[in-house]
Amino acid sequence: MSETFTETDRTDGIEPDMADQSNAPASDAPDAPAVAPMNMIQALNSALDVKMAEDPNVLSFGEDAGYFGGVFRVTDHLQKKHGLTRSFDAPISECGIVAAAIGMGAYGLRPVVEIQFADYIYPAYDQIVSEAAKLRYRSAGQFTAPIVVRSPYGGGIFGGQTHSQSPESLFTHIAGLKVVIPSNPYDAKGLLTAAIEDDDPVIFFEPKRLYNGPFDGWHQKPVSPWKAQELAQVPTGKYVEPIGKARVMREGADVTILAYGSMVWVSLAGAEHAGVDAEVIDLRTLVPLDIETIEASVKKTGRCVIVHEAPKTSGYGGELSALVQERCFYHLEAPVTRVCGWDTPYPHAFEWEYFPGPERVATALKSVMAGGR
């Protein structure tokens, strides 16, 4: 599929220029290669395509997600290939979308629904928190909600406050939910496959700034395309990346950086900018959390910096910080430090002051290397 693989080199703009990009699934073409370069959109599309081909109980729906294939094209071609009832448009009713998915899950299907932007998820919050998350527990296993709620999240696209938020901590706080956030095409496909096969409800946030390339926060520079990346070489067939396992993106000796989503790439750039030998851990799943990998790394490095886009107060970084000090206190040589979005709504005109970039990560790294002083 490499001939249809087009990249955008845009550094901003809310709508990715995907007009000439085909997400036609490669998996069942007669001479389909075993591995193909994919961007995140194509990888996610491939996961859906492969699972829908394999399991008739998997279906996908959401606003503009049927015929049109979604505003970010993640469900492109699925309706054409798998049929109208397996990939269809939904009314603009996030509550209704999630509630219908819960009913379908209780019946025995495995629906994957798209919430067009994570910022729109709040009308569905009651259904996710009070219903999907609790069905198994409150019915002692009689009813379950094996659903996936997919949603593009995060900033860096000049989306303003209603197209840039990172609401993951509103879901990590809820018993019964799993929260998954991939940072690259390979993980995106493997983790979405795992999420669909998971017997519990999974909130699957897709860092939309990474859809087209591994954006590292140097917004003045051209973005490198996914195809140059090893993690964009994606098997066209089925594979699963386990939920609950972190990925060590860079081994290092001096400081552990905990990040997920677009902040993984920002952290790598920040470490390079600071010239610090950082171990960068991509958490990949926030719940369940790979605490073993975190603990082993921090005990090795003695320092920990946590990076996320979401506002600092009550963000997931607070939980990570608490876990690290509970488990690694006597190994720490500096305060656990957070680099986060500010405690403001996401501002349109101040994208790069808000979005944590490599400079801020580098500053934090230098600070912890100096013992926090």
């Binding site: 009913g103 209780a106 019946y107 009651d126 409150r138 019915s139 009689q142």
Partner: protein, 410 residues
């Protein structure tokens, strides 16, 4: 621009009576039994708009079944329905007392509304899925769910099938077509639509049925449910149990003053029926109409079941503080048990002696179940193992739950 001739004023709806007032239902326009036409099952919603504003009734004041909606039930089916309603009321009475005796923390009766869940539970199969509110216990009872198991749930004891995790009466009984009850109102309605969509998606023959109170129709979930049901032609029966009161708020606060709850279906393009909820035969006939429509792939029906909440909202409620104390006795549509009894007697298929016998038998059944459940234990005397608190949060426990369980020492 036109200037106001008078200052604007805010209207806050008020019911026709408050404590101390004489009950007044003179504002209700009630059709006589048999007065409302029965449209063909394949009628288009626009061809039957008036049914949203009328009242389907079958049993008249003399206990005769009249008119086009008469389901012509055989006497044995009606006797089964009557006995299930009697048993439901006997169960409610005992569990309400059990709460007063300190045996449980909470209970909710369905007094006056028994015909609804009992008739509908008898019509639909256990393979169909019901998405109930907390006032459809009659569905479980009509289907023969063990009374002692209901009590075990109410007592959160060691045999509670849902392991002490839910407030009393929030049953879950998948094998009986009874979805786990939520305390968050209205959430079950769009879920029922999703379940029905799944059945249609799979080419199955099962349908879904759900209930919501008049009060909760103000929730967005209700409107989302109707949108999805109409858009995807979901095979589901959408019941609105209009029992006039949402705790202390009369149905006008939910938007029932200027129109009927059934009429809300019209804007969604769904067929609407408005039915005397205290008339077992009318409930039966309307449900059968909706069932046939759903099973023949014609989609959803909205049924407003017009009734009256005879009991307090729950054991935590005192209706004497917000409505006339004897309002229930003046409800113009009577009592569902008395009315079906009267009908069977008029047919020569029942007697006052049989009624007394059935009531005695129901009390006995409940007493026997009570003994069984109380032998296991009432609230606090017996409970599932504490270890189960950490189970079934997920399909498999993660390290947090394992650590936390150890912290509790179990």
């Amino acid at each position: 621009m036109t200037r106001n001739t008078r200052p604007l004023s805010l209207r806050v709806p008020e019911p026709s009576g408050r404590p101390g007032d004489a009950p007044d239902f003179s504002h209700l326009k009630l059709d006589a039994a048999g007065a409302v036409d029965r449209p063909p099952v394949d009628a288009r919603p626009v061809q039957m708009l008036d049914l949203a504003f009328r009242l389907v009734r079958v049993l008249d004041d003399e206990g005769q079944a009249v008119g086009p909606w008469n389901p012509r039930l055989d006497a044995e089916t009606m006797r089964r329905g009557l006995k299930a309603m009697i048993l439901t009321r006997a169960f409610d009475d005992r569990m309400h007392r059990a709460h007063r005796q300190g045996k449980t923390s909470f209970y909710m009766k369905c007094t006056g509304e028994e015909a609804i869940a009992v008739a509908q539970g008898m019509i639909l199969s256990r393979e169909d899925m019901g998405f109930p509110t907390y006032r459809q216990q009659g569905l479980l009872i009509a289907r023969g769910y063990p009374l002692a198991t209901m009590m075990n749930q109410i007592y959160s004891n060691a045999e509670d099938p849902i392991k002490g995790r839910q407030l009393p009466i929030m049953y879950s009984a998948k094998d009986y077509g009874f979805f786990t009850i939520s305390g968050n109102l209205g959430t079950q309605m769009p879920q029922a639509v999703g379940w029905a969509m799944a059945s249609a998606y799979k080419g199955d023959d099962k349908i879904a049925i759900t209930w919501i109170g008049d009060g909760a129709t103000a929730e967005g979930d209700f409107h989302n449910a109707l949108t999805f049901a109409a858009v995807y032609r979901a095979p589901v029966i959408l019941n609105i149990v209009n029992n006039q009161w949402a705790i202390s708020s009369f149905m006008g606060i939910a938007g029932g003053l200027e129109t009927t709850f059934a009429s809300k279906a019209i804007g969604y393009g769904l067929p609407a029926l408005r039915v005397d909820g205290n008339d077992f035969l009318a409930v039966w006939a309307a449900t059968q109409w909706a069932e046939e429509r759903a099973r023949t792939n014609q989609g959803a029906t909205v049924i407003e079941l017009f009734t009256y909440r005879g009991a307090p909202h729950s054991t935590s409620d005192d209706p004497g503080r917000y409505r006339p104390g004897d309002e229930h006795e003046h409800w113009p549509l009577g009592d569902p048990i008395s009315r079906l009894k009267q009908h069977l007697i008029a047919l020569g298929e029942w007697s006052d002696e049989q009624q007394a016998e059935a009531e005695k038998d129901a009390v006995e059944q409940v007493r026997a179940a009570g003994k069984e459940a109380e032998a296991i234990g009432t609230l606090g005397q017996s409970r599932p193992s504490v270890k189960t608190m950490f189970e079934e949060v997920y399909a498999t426990e993660d390290w947090r739950l394992i650590e936390q369980r150890r912290e509790v020492g179990v």
